[in-house]
Amino acid sequence: MIYDQARYTEDETKHEPLLSEKDETTVEVGGSDSPLPDELTRDKLTLPSLSEPELARHYTRLSQMNWSIDSGPYPLGSCTMKYNPKFTEDVAADRNAAIHPDRSTDSSQGNLELLCGLQEYLATIGGMDAVTLQPPAGAAGEFTGILIAKAYHDHHGNDRSEVIIPASAHGTNFATAAMAGYDVVELPSDEGGRVDLEALKAAVSEETAALMLTNPNTVGLFERDIVEIAETVHDVGGLLYYDGANLNALLGRGRPGDMGFDIMHYNVHKTFATPHGGGGPGAGPVGVVEELAEFLPRPRVRQTDDGGYEQFAPDKSIGKVHGFAGNWLVLIKAYAYIARLGDAGLADASAKAVLNANYLAEQLDMEVPYGPFHHEFAVTAGDRDAADVAKRMLDFGVHPPTTKWPEMVPEAMLTEPTEIESRRTLDTLAEAFNAAYTDSDEAIETAPLRTTASRIDQVSAARNPQLSWHAVDEE
């Protein structure tokens, strides 16, 4: 497959002009017609003022210069770029659902029922006892979970200082633990790529607040010693945290709650197919075991004896992690997706995700150092530069995988095709991998050629940051 991306080129210096290069209109603010005295207003405001047809073209062109899951495969590892069913957009656009978060309980029973229903779905899928839907993203879910762990330890009079995290974990885990005030203890992997149980036993202590674990881990391996890992952490009074980024490998075949995890987050924009929106919004609900339910963010939602729904603040709630109820529109879409699939569909999604990853890896002329993997795998570019190989793949009608991460695999290309790709598409993807991997040094170093922009100079962007059209004008 060859891909030529749309490329609107204004002149030798730029592609589609900025809105500000199409128009700048300055309006004087204040003066005799103003409803406010001049000392309370600004002097002027300069923004583009363009007609609707001009804007429709501007944004249509920008969209054409952008890759998406509807354009083609998007196998970013640990990102679970699935197809986002169109009907979920229509469901979320229901104007009856578009209410203010301060509405009375009586007048918002529909929204509360949806929240309650989604809580129940997620609890049963994860094997958890109670769920909050408030965290607006995966990292926010991690932060919520670690705050719950902290509140739990505080409540029991234990002032613990450390969170243990495997070296292969997502960067957010480390940042989350640090934000919550914990020291990070980094855990090395064993030779097989999994948690080194002996190293874990040496690392845990009375200072251990929690172990944050992704399972399957970031090279797709299931932590076979999970029961021993859980015992080791629980024996010192620590809690086991599940990073839900890779839950798409487990649906219907394994539940974190059954493995000994006490707290988990769900990435609904990954596992439950809500659109990634160019970077967000997602949602990061958090599930906990019964013993931790009293620490969940307020308000919680529950069904009442008369079949209605109510909100309440748990006794020892950590408080709030979002100004309101989180990313509401995303939560509606997640509910609709889960309802569409049901038990069999969810289990099949994971089965096909794992089948696709294994089938794709089998077609590659490259080495996958760790296995057996599940829904994702880290293939190595060996003596080639993984970032260069990835850039060359852009010319072949596919988005490349996550590159140079995790670090345990040299020149890693972390690949997660998800269940939505057909065998035919996986073959195309494999051809792109293999062609890029075996291409000449010159070809991969100067790639891509067919995208809107050719290779972008990252260094000068960081050395001389220009973050607005004002800054561009000054250059």
Binding site: P35, S49, L50, E52, L62, M65, S68, D70, S71, L76, Y83, N84, F87, V91, A97, P101, D102, R103, S107, G110, Y121, G127, P136, A140, G171, T172, F174, A175, A178, A180, V184, L221, F222, G254, P275, H276, G278, G280, P281, G323, F324, Y335, A336, R340, G342, A349, K391, W405, E419, I420, S422, R423, P448, T451, S454, A461, A462, P465, L467, S468
Partner: protein, 442 residues
Amino acid sequence: MKNTDGSPFAPHTADETAAMLAALEADSEVDLFDIPDKVAFDGDFGIDARSEQEIRGELQRLFTRNDDLTEFMGRGHYSHYVPSLVDHLSDRAEFLTSYTQYQPEITQGFLQALFEYQSMVVELTGLPVANCSMYDAATGLAEAALLADRVRETTGDTVLVPKYLRDGKRSVLENYVDGADLSVRSYPMADGNVDREALAELAGDETVMIYAETPTVRGTIEEDLNEIGEITADTEALFCLGSDLVALSLLEKPASVGADVVVGEADVIGLPTSYGMGLGIFATSEQYIRQVPGRLVGVSEDLDDRRAYTLTLQTREQHIRKERATSNICTNQAWVALRAAMHIAMLGSNGLVELAEDCVRDAAALAEQIDDLSGYQAPVHNRHHFREFVVRSNQPAQAVVKSLESAGFAIHAIDDHLLQICVTETNAHATDELLAALQEAS
């Protein structure tokens, strides 16, 4: 639809599945899993699969269980009319179904749109550095306090916030600063605005950041932001100002009153009422550029010497800096930022300022009409207002709210005898009926 037994979004036919398994020399998909039996799950979730049509019907019925009320509500979540262009263009799959721009060469379109959003925030705040989104205003405020803690060399550990502050903002802030051992303390208000004398007395060596809002959560417009800026500068704390993208088009530029960081509701624009879903502003000055949380889009050139956009200064971020990152944020609110930029572009400078002026005029006019009713005084605070204002009622506030609900309206009760009412172009058509219902409730 091919795969009728399993996920409707997995395209495999039985033959294809069999061929793929054969290529792997596996008997079944289950053989590919490496989950020990003792933790494997073989139960049911009990979730029945439904058709697309069934789910649409089910949720349509479910959402009608929300009462159909005309809302005059605000306090941090607002409703402005969103032009159709915003829905239609932001819903283009190339935008909606893409992700973070890890490969900028193939995602120039979204990067440019986010760069344009950042530029609009820069114009509105007067501060030169704006990120391309926080989750919401509350988490933006919390991140500002963490930035203040990183950059201030004082020994202080106190964040000062107004007494009138949305509970969600205060609670999120307390949660975020707990790990940095900061404490949050309130300063008093005087007739709805900052009590500047009291603030000056409270501020000192201990202060890491002073936060103020305009408009405030009660809808009042601060009258002497310069003095708050000076108080903050005297203590060498950071001045964090909260506002929203509509109000900023009319009110004093934060940069000109000494604000070091601007946070607040960007979701006032581009996003209709959506149960509190948000988009947080984060803007700051040049000197803190390497301390900013979240993603930044910058400009560079490609090999053909053409301008190109890319995520930049990524060494601040969690995927590179891990526990030393400026924040743990990864997935953000990019698509909501795209919508905000589209809406601002649709309004243009004139339209945006006119919208903001209407927020002042309409609030003043409605307050005056309510004040003319017997049993109500409005506005309670003798200030200029933006969109919303506080009303004192002779009847208990909760009773008034209940009575209004049965008449088809939703407003806030914020104290025993205090109501709060918010008016924009989305509910202005119903003010006469609201007035009649209020009169009825008195």
